[in-house]
Symmetry: C2
Subunit: 295 residues, 2 copies
């Protein structure tokens, strides 16, 4: 992470991991194989981009770190569940994730379905116990549920499934797909931090603009990494998009134009955060990371 | 339904259907195949037992019917998602549900996974917009999330998967399995109504006792129906439990003892509801229905 303060980012990752671990500990009496699959899906690493966005946004506007733990854990639990289900044979059929066997490979397909289902439920249970006042908590729960659902993440994955191999997407359709599949949850992470901080409407609009640019940049960088990397570095199967004839930014507009688009999104992010000055340092660093990351 | 007022039950079913339909209408811009699968999973009938429990409980303690619509829709959306995923080839592998092809048969397996995922998210989105005060809404959201997750419904299904064919369950383990797999969500339905009504602690304890007895009775009756019925009457594949060597009450304690157990659960329900008198008429009728139902 190219943050001004890498130690802070590491501490946030540890906070999120601890919050997720504590949430799983509340389920110690659950069916052992299901619980083991949930730990496998959540505690074997990962960038924790979404929790970092919750912490960076919330602390920028005055919320204490510990008051952000439940929201950080909740958004990562939703992300983790989506990876488990996306990796299923009936979806993207991937055997490797974060350098580890995917859940349906390490366990079995039925367990992987239940694992994702239970992680989604756990996300809302964790968020329901957040320390924000009830009205803010309800708004946060609504935000996460809407972002995760058919109008957001699930809808984006459905578009992705429908488009794979069909070769009919133009660049606008691809951007719309990613705005839902990846962007909705990244934006929700920023919004959860903003709702916890009870920011004013103008700030919320700027944070949305930042988050939307970050979400698109994150996906374009993901597409470029699939072209540029090998599986060992990436921790998942590289070259898969091309093999599956997936619509990607490099495939539709070329590698150079994709890189240029990243630079223009960097400018959009800087502009959105400009009025916040120093307090947005961590958010700006996360934006730069989305564009420069190599894993 | 053997209710004292069948018209009221029909009206409640229509209210729940309408609330679910309205929730799906908010997703009109979603990927068409995903949305069609969600309609297929939710709007093709079903007993609506869980919404009826929400209405019967809430109205018994003074809540207006329309204030219960979101909770009724939410609990049914969770139930509907669980059926879509339970029917998957990697889970119970069933082709027929409510007399219709299951979602993965009518659509495809990837769509069925996403359909269930999106229905779960929608449940929480709908409940977040319920008209109860924020603190009550948070409690309702927590209740639904905990009941649906690894400590409840998902955990019960995981136990069921682990036990199928293994032949190692005793009657206590089978009751525990069903208390989680079916019972947790039926109890959540009663609790959502109770939370909406802000009932006192003593009332809550009695309602839990009623709901736990109803949940177990519901499952024993389900097991008996699998033995007694044909697929046409049942609307799903009959004789499946025996074919899959599933632990069931008739298999473990016999048909006669299962029927006797139902009668004792009927007495437990009557006793739990006794202090509520006339106001619990609809709840009592739902309890009797759980025991006598033929579909």
């Amino acid at each position: 992470m190219a943050a001004a303060d890498p130690g802070r980012v590491d501490a946030w990752r540890q906070r999120a991991d601890h919050a997720i671990g504590s949430a799983l500990d509340t389920l110690a009496d659950s069916e052992p194989r299901l619980l083991a699959s949930m730990r496998h899906a959540t505690l074997l690493g990962g960038k924790r981009m979404r929790p970092l966005l919750v912490y960076a946004t919330g602390t920028a506007f005055g919320v204490a770190e510990d008051a952000l733990d439940p929201a950080a854990a909740a958004v990562e639990l939703i992300h983790a569940y989506s990876l488990v289900h996306d990796d299923l044979p009936s979806m993207d059929d991937d055997a490797l994730r974060r350098g580890q066997p995917t859940v349906h490979v390490a366990f079995d397909e039925g367990t992987a379905v239940l694992c994702g289902d239970a992680l989604q439920s756990l996300a809302f249970a964790v968020l329901a116990d957040a320390p924000q006042p009830p009205a803010a908590r309800v708004a946060m729960l609504r935000e996460l549920a809407v972002a995760a659902g058919a109008g957001g993440m699930c809808g984006g994955q459905a578009r992705d499934l429908a488009a794979t191999g069909a070769g009919i997407l133009d660049i606008a359709a691809l951007e719309r797909l990613h705005a839902m599949k990846t962007g909705a949850l990244l934006r929700a992470a920023v919004r959860l931090g903003a709702l916890a901080a009870d920011v004013d409407a103008g700030t919320a609009v700027r944070l949305d603009a930042f988050a939307d640019a970050l979400g698109l940049a994150f996906q374009i960088r993901d597409d470029l990494l699939d072209v540029e990397s090998d599986s060992g570095t990436l921790g998942k199967t590289a070259g898969k998009d091309v093999a599956q004839d997936k619509a990607t930014f490099p495939a539709l507009i070329g590698v150079d134009a994709s890189r240029q688009r990243l630079q223009s999104l960097a400018a959009t992010m800087d502009e959105a955060l400009a009025p916040f000055g120093e307090r947005a340092t961590a958010l700006a660093a996360l934006g730069r990371h989305a564009i420069t990351r190599t894993y």
